[in-house]
Amino acid sequence: MRADLALIYDWIPQGARVLDLGCGDGTLLAALYRYKGVTGYGLEIDADGISSCLKKGVNVIEQDIDQGLANIPDDMFDLVVMTQSLQVVRRPDRILEEMLRVAHECIISFPNFAWWRHRLALGLRGRMPVSRSLPYAWYDTPNIHLSTFRDFAELCRAQGHTIADRAVGNGNGEGRWRHRRWPNLFGQNAIFRVRR
């Protein structure tokens, strides 16, 4: 399992009702169903992801999260997860509010644009950074809202939410996820647990 998914897996309590926004091939939900007695759904728009979920027995609904979560009642879930999708949605601020409407807690992971190598690329080389966590060229990237560890913390504060936990890790999957002294500088990927 991808490093950020493994950490999120650990953070999710037994038997929780979980909504996974952009659930991909359903790896996280399948593990949560099986070993943690979790129930819930994934939302996905990628056809291959949806088929993989179905084969794994993961409840997956073809739904574009940019269209909002209006079909999901308040507090229907204990927890909403969104991994590596914050940067591709049209309005990250609205998604965050929606997530904390349908559950009291959410876990979000995203690439940290302020990671030192990203800064080097932009600051010294004057080029848009390309890395494991941001693998696209500027002209064909799905990433339309890049942000930093600190930016996201600020958004949570502005919306009046509580940051219950956070961690950073490197981008190649075997990251040691933890608080670092300078997470905004040394974390390639950021992960937040936010409560309303």
Partner: protein, 412 residues
């Protein structure tokens, strides 16, 4: 096709069977059928647990012949052969598939063309109007007869999908999964309006004789033909019709008359003609009424989530992007209601240019979605099968006996 080998991946030659029931079936309309017959086909083998049965429910003009061929020289296989067969989405190597002709049909099950035991003459228009729920009850009686307590899945498209949905409400403990394809939780005013045009076309045909055409040695062909033509328009998308026919003319110039000029006219007439030769008018009327009446939320203050609250199965809901008869939004209503009711549900909207008809046609993504869902069901059944302690000392029996005491899930 050569004599001894039907095409690869085919169910091959199949034969229909008839089940006769002498217990009366009470109907939603208040009347009852004193006795009835259901004609059905089965494909694949029922496993020892009787846990791998899949029920296929048919649509408005469908029937029990869903897969394979009746004769080696049949031109076409069953209506859902694209999806039922060895290695197909509904894999007959893994599932025992049952496909039944609904009551009121005209392909062998008791219907308007059958003899009314009370009067001794054919039922004709006196045949009671059926509802989706009535069909589900009759299908459950067939399941009893075949010794199937619980279906691995009930699967259907269009009106068949409505039956799958109804199954989950009427007999929640008797199915593990439901696949509701190109369906709707209820017909819209526009849907009912199209049905009414079709019915009026039939009923206003002078050969209809108030439904007693058989006694008059007549057939309301013209009416059926029109009914099918208008129905057919709603099965195709504007794009599909445009791509296939455009404004193409049969001859190279306009004739300034009312004979067939445009290709699309020719196509519709052909569809209408062939349909009017093989379908019974009273059955068509009755089937369209069953569509109109379907409204499982009607008894729950239009709260579909509440209507679905008894359901215990997992759902797959599938819609097609250009289906305007039962549009994707109608499938979303079912998905959202199932979500609100906290039921296990998956949903896919398949890109297709074929409109409502897409549910009958081969499509790569459709196969991946339905096939993926069914594959998972088959895997689960076969896992349970392999883990059962068996007295014969088989290899897998040994390991599962050792594991049993510690594994709570196995004992449930």
């Amino acid at each position: 096709m050569t004599e001894e080998s039907p095409p690869l991946q085919s169910t091959g030659l199949v034969t229909s069977q008839v089940a006769r029931f002498d217990t009366p079936l009470p109907l939603a309309c208040g009347r009852e059928l004193p006795a009835f017959e259901l004609v059905y086909e089965t494909y694949g083998e029922l496993n020892a647990d009787r846990s791998n049965a899949v029920l296929i429910c048919h649509a408005l003009t469908g029937h029990h012949h869903a897969a394979g061929y009746h004769h080696v020289d049949d031109r076409k296989p069953g209506w859902w052969d694209a999806h039922i067969g060895p290695g197909k989405s509904i894999d007959t190597r893994r599932f025992f598939v049952i496909s039944v002709n609904n009551l009121g049909g005209c392909h062998g099950s008791t219907g308007p063309q059958s003899i009314d035991p009370n009067s001794g003459r054919i039922w004709g228009p006196d045949f009671p109007l059926m509802t989706v729920e009535d069909w589900v009850h009759s299908q459950a009686m067939l399941a009893d007869r075949l010794g199937i307590e619980r279906f691995a899945a009930v699967v259907g498209g269009s009106l068949g999908g409505m039956q799958a949905l109804q199954w989950s409400i009427t007999f929640p403990a008797r199915l593990a999964n439901a696949a509701v394809i190109a369906a709707t939780p209820k017909l819209s005013a526009q849907n009912i309006a199209f049905n009414e045009v079709a019915r009026q076309a039939i009923r206003s045909d002078p050969e209809f004789h108030d439904g007693w055409y058989a006694e008059h040695q007549a057939l309301p062909r013209q009416g059926l033909r029109l009914a099918r033509m208008v129905g057919h328009i709603t099965y195709l998308s504007e794009h599909a019709m445009g791509a296939r026919f455009g404004r193409d003319l049969r001859t190279d110039r306009l004739n300034f008359g009312y004979d067939v000029e445009f290709e699309v006219e020719s196509y519709l007439r052909y569809q209408g003609d062939s349909f009017s030769r093989r379908f019974d008018a009273n059955t068509y009327l009755l089937m369209t009424k069953a569509l109109d009446y379907f409204d499982p939320a009607g008894d729950s203050d239009d709260d579909l989530a509440r209507a679905l609250s008894p359901a215990q199965c997992r759902f797959l809901v599938v819609s097609f992007s250009t289906d305007w008869r039962f549009a994707p939004a109608r499938s979303r209503e079912m998905v959202d209601a199932l979500l609100r009711a906290g039921k296990g549900v998956s949903y896919a909207n398949i890109d297709s240019s074929h409109g409502h008809d897409a549910f009958l046609l081969p499509n790569e993504r459709y196969a991946a979605v339905l096939g993926g869902f069914m594959q998972r069901i088959a895997n689960d059944i076969e896992t349970i099968d392999a883990n059962r302690p068996s007295g014969d000392g088989a290899h897998h029996g040994e390991t599962s006996r050792q594991r049993m005491p510690n594994d709570q899930r196995e004992s449930g």
